[in-house]
């Protein structure tokens, strides 16, 4: 990619391509020894050694001494002189976690499935161990971690820092999430709703670039939204704005897990889609439904289209009220692509047909299921520079030698 400028086929372009290979391999694995790098890239050990030396002099990579199978080895990681930030996303069934440097280059990333109704204490403890492990893997010290941002797939109450609505993340109710994570990781922690952070990420790096009045809709097991007004996230009076999934679209409709009747989520959320297919297929997960729909299974296509039509009704209501320029659809269900977006667009266009201004564009997110994680990383990076007291100790160490 980067070697477009060089004459193709020349020595220089080859060398640049090799550099790219090495950096990519280190990025992918977090850290590797030089011998492993040779294996992973297919380059000769001498080439690897030369390039690593060159790149560590220019400050792209950093090396440290280590041991592998009883032999001395050079352990190569990405350089992270300016410190690291951590992003964490707890969703209904997944944990995603990533470490990045201040330019948001991800140096280490993990994701894992979680149990239904996972509990906050277990998961925060797990995160503590994972972060220690990941820091170790990129050979970083504990105090190089400057800030952490946590995305939670539930509405957050700004004043208390707790989940604002019962029944959504049942194992996480009644605890101040930020404080609990802060106690474990001992760095400043920011907590926000995952859809808000996804909106932010799409605004900075994805499908909402240049759109200051826009909305991100997350359609996964649950449904949520992040609202951008004038380029900034809108959180409302108590901090829990954007509860798109808990808009009532059928009066006295089916019971939602939040306790209300007829919420969008109870009709078009992932769980509702799977539940609705039960008479045809038992034991499916949402990802199976999407795979089947994309492979042409009529029943699953119909189920996703129905969900899209219902999301469309809610989206049209929101659009007529706050007039966003663009609505980005993300989350697991959005992996179905046009099977979901088509029906949403159709309903929104029809509902807003009499309006003078065009209906908002409905497009798929560009960051996929990682949107909230990217948003968390970028929020953490912002906060790491806003906490001079924390950035201090590293400077102090340098000053003291």
């Amino acid at each position: 990619m980067a070697d477009q400028r060089r004459t193709p086929g020349s020595q220089t372009s080859l060398r640049e391509a090799n550099r790219g290979r090495i950096v990519d391999a280190v990025k992918k694995h977090g850290g590797l020894t030089q011998v492993e790098l040779a294996g992973a890239t297919g380059l000769s050990p001498a080439t690897v050694s030369n390039i690593v030396k060159e790149l560590s002099e220019s400050g792209v990579l950093s090396t440290s001494k280590s041991m592998r199978s009883g032999r001395r080895a050079q352990y190569v990681t990405l350089a992270h002189a300016s410190g690291l930030v951590c992003g964490i996303h707890f969703s209904q069934r997944h944990l995603r976690i990533a470490l990045a440097d201040s330019s948001l280059t991800v140096v280490s990333e993990h994701e894992m499935p979680l149990a239904r109704d996972h509990r906050s204490d277990n998961e925060i403890r797990r995160v503590g161990m994972l972060v220690a492990d990941m820091l170790d893997n990129v050979s970083a010290e504990r105090d190089e971690l400057l800030a952490v941002a946590v995305a939670v797939s539930a509405p957050m109450d700004a004043a208390s820092g707790m989940v604002a609505r019962p029944g959504i993340l049942r194992g996480w109710e009644g605890i101040a999430i930020g404080d609990a994570v802060e106690r474990t990781l001992r760095v400043p922690v920011v907590v926000d709703n995952s859809s808000n952070l996804s909106a932010l990420a799409e605004h900075r790096l994805g499908a909402l670039r240049g759109q200051d009045d826009a909305m991100f809709i997350e359609a996964s097991d649950g449904i949520g939204a992040g609202i951008l007004v004038g380029g900034r996230g809108y959180r409302g009076a108590s901090g829990s704005a954007g509860e798109f999934g808990h808009m009532v679209i059928v009066e006295n409709g089916p019971l939602c897990r939040c306790g209300n009747l007829g919420c969008l989520e109870a009709i078009a959320g992932g769980d509702a889609v799977v539940e609705g297919l039960k008479s045809h297929y038992s034991g499916l997960k949402l990802s199976d439904v999407i795979v089947r729909a994309m492979a042409g299974d009529d029943v699953c296509i119909r189920a996703i289209a129905d969900a899209g039509a219902h999301i469309g009704v809610a989206a049209a209501n929101v659009a007529s009220m706050f007039d966003p320029a663009r609505m980005v659809i993300g989350g697991h269900l959005a992996r179905a692509g046009e099977l979901l977006l088509g029906p949403i667009r159709q309903v929104v266009d029809r509902s807003l047909a009499t309006r003078l201004a065009p209906a908002p564009e409905i497009v798929a997110g560009q960051l996929g299921p990682r949107a909230a994680l990217v948003g968390a990383l970028s929020t953490a990076a912002e906060h790491s520079s806003a906490f001079p007291a924390v950035a201090g100790p590293a400077d102090l160490r340098v000053a003291l030698g």
Binding site: H29, A115, D117, H118, M129, A295, R335
Partner: protein, 277 residues
């Protein structure tokens, strides 16, 4: 990340509700110890079945019967609708049942490729190293495995990477059922995450997966169905989406009974004392 990319999937096809593997009335005793008593078990394709139970509940014996280590004393095993006997491990393999035991049985001094193809080398006149290396990469890529090189000896890999290699090895020959015995028991958090993702990949590839584990969090994260064994008997067959942590613990400890309904006894049994579940 590559983890998110939709891996090339086994075509989902219609859900066939015929179990790949079905065990009916399996019993096994070692001398006077009745290890398994009238066990029933169905495994469907593309499904993760967790078998849980206390120590001595018979989980390992059940797995060993499937792997052909011990033959069952009584009962029938059907594989893809055909009644089969599994007298020895090679029969189990040939049927399409792959078992990954807790100790993994990898050769530490050999590299990843050699371990994957041990005993099943691709060879013409000489070993076709290139072909094997290509296949090894292909397999590891499908599992989204993070292995730096397939030419490093196993001794240089982490616990999670070894587990990955052991699981990848079991997939050579495309088995229908993969049995994992305590795959996360000796692993750190990051490696556990890797193995849980791997189990999801196996499910997506359409294998039936049997997972034996003591860790309820892991079981609930990946299982579709949870089967509880207690003292060698079935004590519950739950859909993971409909059951909570406490229910499973209650079934494991025997606080609740979910035994399969027995046929009416020929004579009236003694009256039970205490609460009846």
């Amino acid at each position: 990340m590559s983890v998110e990319a939709l891996a090339p999937l086994a075509s989902p096809g219609p859900v066939d509700r015929v179990p790949v593997l079905s065990m009916r009335g399996i019993s096994k005793s070692f001398g006077k110890v009745q290890a398994l008593d009238d066990i029933h078990l169905d495994i469907f394709a593309g499904e993760v079945v967790a078998i849980v139970g206390d120590n001595g509940a018979g989980k390992s014996t059940l797995v060993k019967i499937l792997a052909g280590v011990h033959p069952a004393d009584e009962g029938e095993i059907e594989f893809e609708g055909q009644a089969v006997q599994i007298p020895d491990p090679s029969t189990s393999r040939a049927l399409g049942i792959a078992t990954v035991f807790q100790d993994l049985a990898l050769c530490d001094n050999l590299d990843v490729v050699a371990n994957l193809f041990l005993g099943r080398e691709i060879a013409g006149v000489a070993l076709d190293e290139e072909e094997m290396e290509k296949d090894a990469w292909e397999l590891l890529r499908q599992l989204s495995a993070r292995i730096p090189s397939v030419r490093v000896p196993i001794a240089a890999l982490s616990g999670g990477q070894r587990q990955t290699v052991a699981i990848a090895r079991s997939l050579i020959g495309d088995p229908r059922v993969v049995i994992l015995d305590e795959p996360t028991a000796a692993l750190g958090v990051a490696q556990t995450a890797e193995v849980l993702n791997l189990i999801e990949r196996l499910r997506e590839r359409g294998h039936g997966v049997v997972l034996i584990s003591h860790n309820m969090a892991d079981v609930q994260a990946v299982a579709d169905r949870i089967i509880v064994l207690r003292l060698g008997r079935n004590n519950g067959d739950f859909l993971a989406s409909e059951v909570g942590y406490e229910d499973i613990i209650a079934a494991i400890t025997g606080a609740t009974e979910h035994a399969r309904p027995l046929p009416d006894p020929p004579y009236r049994g003694p009256r039970r004392i205490g609460p009846v579940a």
